[in-house]
Symmetry: D2
């Protein structure tokens, strides 16, 4: 129980904005993935790799995916460029127990939409307004270290209706200065995999440098590692089974 | 409230077994879709059409789908032959408010898997054993007319683990003589659409002739019609919105 | 299906403020219960009675409770004066299928806390600020007639953390001008009974005169009537059962 | 993260059967609580105490409850003898973050019914029949170490309808030889506390000596310890709050 091997984390970032736009470079000079990797690498129980769109198979080869416990996903402009074959691979890995943390505009990524089964639309506005994330599930491990709420001083707004299946667990609801609310921290189980959507993040605002945001992401990685420990076997298939002589079922 | 227009029902059946196999013909001489259509047509609040795989666009043209309130789906051998374009059309219709009732082996249909986001596997056995469906949500409209349980004398077994997202509402749990259990009546909302999975049914057993099974399907059609009455607009899109002068959000 | 008998509605109001405080009288001259009764009585499918704290058994005798399909509950200052015997009676009725709609400060009523099993605390502020109720479950019958959100111009604030069990269905989330959010429309099933908590309402503000608020309450009454139609028997007891000769369970 | 202090476990047992009935003594010579304590004491991360009905305050004084992380509850014949004051104390502790594991006939204990808000009835039969517990949530920590199902060779039957609120997480569904099913492993959050109901157990059958049953209980203790780590403050109260000068809420 206490001596698990480190959590193998892979951070996918499309890494497009950061090379094109000076404003993004100023905030995330090595890319959003490297900022996130930076604070995750300081956790003694995590080992961290990164992957980007321009790499072969977007850095998400069979070997990488098979050896990942928790994947983080950031995408925005280039969702459509992610190859379907890679999406299928990541999807199968989640069902098999890999954790997935979808960040901010990853609500519109192929992998998130495939896991949700819905269109995942929302309303949005860029006005650098204030956001407050309220805890509505106070003993959830992902809220560990957070009191009643925390604030992001300047943010892009995402508003309801957010077209997702009802979360299995709703952890945060955001308040925005301009008048909207949003289910900002949502958890689901899909197959054996544990999935978390976390709203905060923006390419031109230093949101991933904020300690509370980092804390939530660190918590989420630890939480999402749970699926990989599942001991139930064979759920990917649809086996034909028979009744054993004494009326007991056996898998053939 | 009391004078709604009739529920427009479309029953899709792949209609393959019934033409190939005498045993199936003996039970469902005009196809499973016509047996189901038969008892639904006796409901004064329903108007019923059918669609089959061999028709152009599988009988599910834009006009048909757009004018359907609730669709029932039966498929077994030929899931792979359903065109992706039709699946996309039905999926969009569900998100927009059309009800969908997936029957028995439709757990493995493209449309059901797309709505669930999981692999939808299960274990199974054909031993003509007894099944009991226990009500675990006694005031659910879909259980109307059923007491604590009902029995199917001979059935194909479907067993857990059933790889689905946790249902929003679990209505029936099945017991099987050979030792398995199954979440046999499961409800979800996806977008504005209400989705129900109902396990009973088999091509060579007269399950759709059984009054309790018919009752549940009739209830489910009425229940699933709810999504189409939704008055919230624009959830399919991701609109950019602005803050109005007095601090009030408006959709542009 | 179409010709149900009218829904028997009973509105409980402690009716204390309205007799003591001129400001409350100005807004609700005959009591909050009469304002609510007024718009419910205009519904052809509803028959409406009222009950107040000062009546014998608070107007909630066995006969009244037994003949009620849906009860609305308003209380604020005098929760502690409601007799436990009456609370037990209402509780048993809910488990047996009576609907219950808890309004505003009824979050702290004995009956609501007993049904929830939690302390039902929240934070609050009286600053006559603006509230917006966002629909997060767009096809829910209780949101019928509402578009993406509606506004209450001046309201008392209720904020998270609201100490309730996770709702079975979350329909509305409120945004408040001062910086809070709140789960303002929450649905649960308890036994056969359907329970809805609806946050808006205040004794000195004309909130129950507002058309959108009235619409939601009317919808909620129709929705909550469902439990009374349940056909499953005997769930109040814990019967001993035996195995019948042919291996079939029977209730003795 | 890795070096938590031990989980403080308190096992309550009414300890009535074991002193009256030789058959119970033969299976649980020192009482059911000591059998459970025995396997929990072998866990290096747990410290275990016991409490019984006949002790002052049933062994559940303020000091004991305040220093408990997870409480297990066994009761059967003597639910009515548990003092309401102790029930209130345990209830408040659960809302404040203490875990509670209700075993078998504890479904009818005062504390479980108070947390659920329902009558918690079920059907039952003593026929020493076979039970199978099927995993329906394969990556849940409480199912760790279990494959698709496990069997109890001889058991008392508990059947649906089990009158509980829909579980937040359903982990096990039981199959019984005589024809029933039961939601046998159910999890809820109440306040900050995590609650688990686990069906297996009987006073005259050696169920708590069975390794799989012990494994589930050990898992459940670790899982239920989570609530005590919550960092959100003040949810027990209903504080009045004000808007700060810069439009920011503060708790007074």
């Amino acid at each position: 129980m206490n001596e698990r091997s480190p959590i193998q984390v892979t951070i996918y970032n499309e890494f497009v904005h950061e090379r094109k736009d000076e404003k993004v470079q100023a905030v995330y000079p090595d890319g959003i993935h490297e900022t996130i990797a930076g604070f995750l690498r300081q956790q003694p129980d995590m080992q961290v790799r990164t992957a980007t769109l321009d790499q072969p198979q977007h850095g998400l080869s069979e070997e990488v995916v098979a050896s990942t416990d928790v994947m983080l996903w950031w995408g925005h402009m280039a969702h459509g460029q992610v190859e379907d074959e890679v999406v299928e691979r990541v999807h199968a890995a989640v069902l098999g127990g890999m954790g997935l943390i979808a960040l901010h505009s990853a609500h519109y990524s192929k992998i998130f939409k495939k896991l949700m089964g819905t269109a995942c639309g929302l309303v949005w506005r860029e006005a650098n307004e204030k956001e407050r994330l309220w805890v509505v599930n106070p003993s959830h491990p992902i809220a560990d270290g957070i009191d009643r709420y925390f604030e992001i001083p300047q943010t892009e707004m995402y508003g309801e209706y957010f077209d997702i299946p009802d979360p299995d667990e709703l952890v945060f609801i955001s308040w925005f200065q301009g008048g909207e609310v949003f289910r900002s921290g949502c958890a689901w189980r899909r197959g054996k995999g544990w999935v978390f959507y976390f709203r905060p993040g923006h390419e031109t605002l230093p949101i991933y440098h904020q300690p509370e945001v980092q804390r939530v992401i660190i918590n989420a990685v630890r939480w999402a590692a749970a699926g990989g420990r599942a001991t139930v076997t064979g759920i990917e298939s649809a086996p034909n089974v028979r009744i054993s002589p004494e009326g007991v079922r056996q898998i053939d």
